[in-house]
């Protein structure tokens, strides 16, 4: 079976299991909407102020909500020792990892795409003025979050305090990607297209995705088997 077919089998398995239970996506979606709602009560910013903090606010919400999904990624394999069966199956560990990444990516993106209009309504911000570029940043930033979250989900799967350990390990490494995504998102929500001031952030985001995807693919066999 082709490598990418194996990736797809793992991804569809995870998505099917998640859509049947809705454990992670419900928690993640509820969390992001509640945080957006609470912040909208806590502050009463003018539209200009809101534009300035929009990137930071959105990516903090995405990162925290995303972790709820990512925590379940490998933990889902624990109850019946399914991880053993996946490790025993003749698929490369990188295919297993990529499959899980793609499933997580779809789930985290879905939460983000629902959260954006909610953000627009609660904060009275016209967030879609640069939608294609904002979508690009969303895709790149979410991939960074997903790759790092999935590899650390694999690393912490056998730790009892994995729900605590995953964010502690993930966020520090994500800082360059999150800073870039925040800066770009703030500019794009404010209506400014990507220009010479923000292009470096986009390059950083692309570079981060490439480097950490390659490192994760190279290390996942060691992470899972030792």
């Amino acid at each position: 079976m082709g490598y990418f077919r194996q990736v797809a089998v793992v991804a569809f398995k995870d998505l099917r299991a998640e859509l049947r239970t809705k454990e992670a996506i419900n928690a993640s979606l509820a969390f992001s909407i509640v945080i957006l709602l609470l912040f909208s009560f806590a502050f009463d910013p003018s539209e200009d102020t809101m534009r300035e903090i929009s990137g930071g606010l959105l990516w903090i919400v995405f990162a925290f909500a995303g972790t709820l999904t990512l925590n379940r990624s490998f933990a889902r394999e624990l109850p019946n020792d399914c991880l053993d069966a996946l490790i025993a199956a003749p698929l490369p560990a990188s295919a297993l990892f990529l499959g899980k990444c793609l499933a997580n990516y779809a789930l985290v993106l879905a939460v983000e795409l629902v959260s954006l209009p909610v953000f627009g309504i609660f904060y009275n911000v016209r967030w879609a003025r640069q939608f294609p570029e904002l979508l690009l940043v969303l895709l790149l930033g979410t991939w960074a979050l997903t790759v790092i979250g999935t590899i650390f989900s694999a690393l912490t799967v056998n730790i009892k305090l994995r729900e605590v350990m995953l964010p502690m390990l993930t966020y520090p490494i994500l800082i360059p990607a999150l800073m870039s995504a925040m800066q770009l998102t703030t500019a794009l929500v404010g209506g400014t297209a990507i220009n010479s001031d923000t292009i470096d952030s986009l390059k950083m985001l692309i570079g981060f995705d490439i480097v950490f995807t390659a490192v994760s693919l190279a290390l996942v066999e060691t992470v899972l088997v030792g």
Binding site: D84, A85, A89
Partner: protein
């Protein structure tokens, strides 16, 4: 060439040696029963043979190859303590999933065939979370046998099985042996295991205390091995 060869394997948990210089072989078509008290190292050894963890020293060979190679994994079937099927998927979906992961020619057809062989065809579309314990165990057996592995690694396969599931498993194991497949099983249920075993290995505190053919005395009296070869 041995189907399974364990060559001087050591495994440490911290400073504690869970396995000490274990050397074993299982010839093609043989059934090796790994026996020993709780904590002797049977599960640790099986997990290393299956490629789930690595030995600090020594080597494992499956038909002369590394257990982690893709081709070797295609030939291995593992039935562990967990059933390794997903509660939120149906029996058919679970087996089809594994059929696809093992690149079977027709995963759905193989899945249906094994559901029938394990007596689960009527509940094929039922979610596993709704299954009784015995049904879950039979599904786990179907999952382990689905890809027709040439080497079966079974960790306490008879534990928690009801009579029907034990009968199903014993029949499948006999068929596998008759077809020339190799079985390595760890067990506390000596009577069931020694009915099938051609060879026996007694592990005691991480060391091999005995490794040899299963004799009529052993098969007749499960306590014989412990009485004869005792603890290291």
């Amino acid at each position: 060439m041995s189907a399974v060869a364990v060559e001087g394997v050591w495994k440490f948990y911290g400073d504690y040696p869970a396995l000490r210089d274990v050397r074993l072989e299982a010839a093609p078509g043989s059934c090796l029963a790994l026996i020993g008290r709780n904590g002797a190292g049977k599960t640790t050894l099986l997990r290393i043979v299956a490629g789930f963890s690595k030995a600090q020293r020594g080597k494992i060979k499956i038909h002369g190859n590394d257990p982690r190679s893709t081709e070797t994994r295609r030939q291995l079937g593992f039935l562990g303590h967990g059933i390794a099927v997903y509660d939120e998927l149906s029996a058919l979906e679970n087996l089809t999933l594994y059929g696809k992961l093992y690149a079977l020619a027709d995963p759905r057809k193989s899945a249906l065939e094994w559901l029938e062989r394990t007596g689960l065809e009527r509940v094929r579309n039922g979610l596993v979370r709704e299954f009784s314990r015995g049904m879950r165990q039979r599904l786990a057996v179907a999952r382990a046998f689905l890809h027709e592995p040439s080497v079966l690694l079974l960790d306490e396969p008879f534990t928690a099985l009801d009579d029907r599931a034990i009968a199903v498993l014993q029949r499948l194991l006999r068929e596998a042996l008759a077809a020339g497949k190799t079985i390595v099983m760890s067990t506390h249920q000596l009577r069931e295991a020694l009915e099938l075993a051609t060879h026996v290995a007694l592990i005691s505190r991480g060391q091999l205390a005995f490794h040899g053919q299963c004799t009529p005395e052993m098969a007749a009296d499960p306590g014989y091995i412990y009485a004869q070869y005792g603890e290291v």
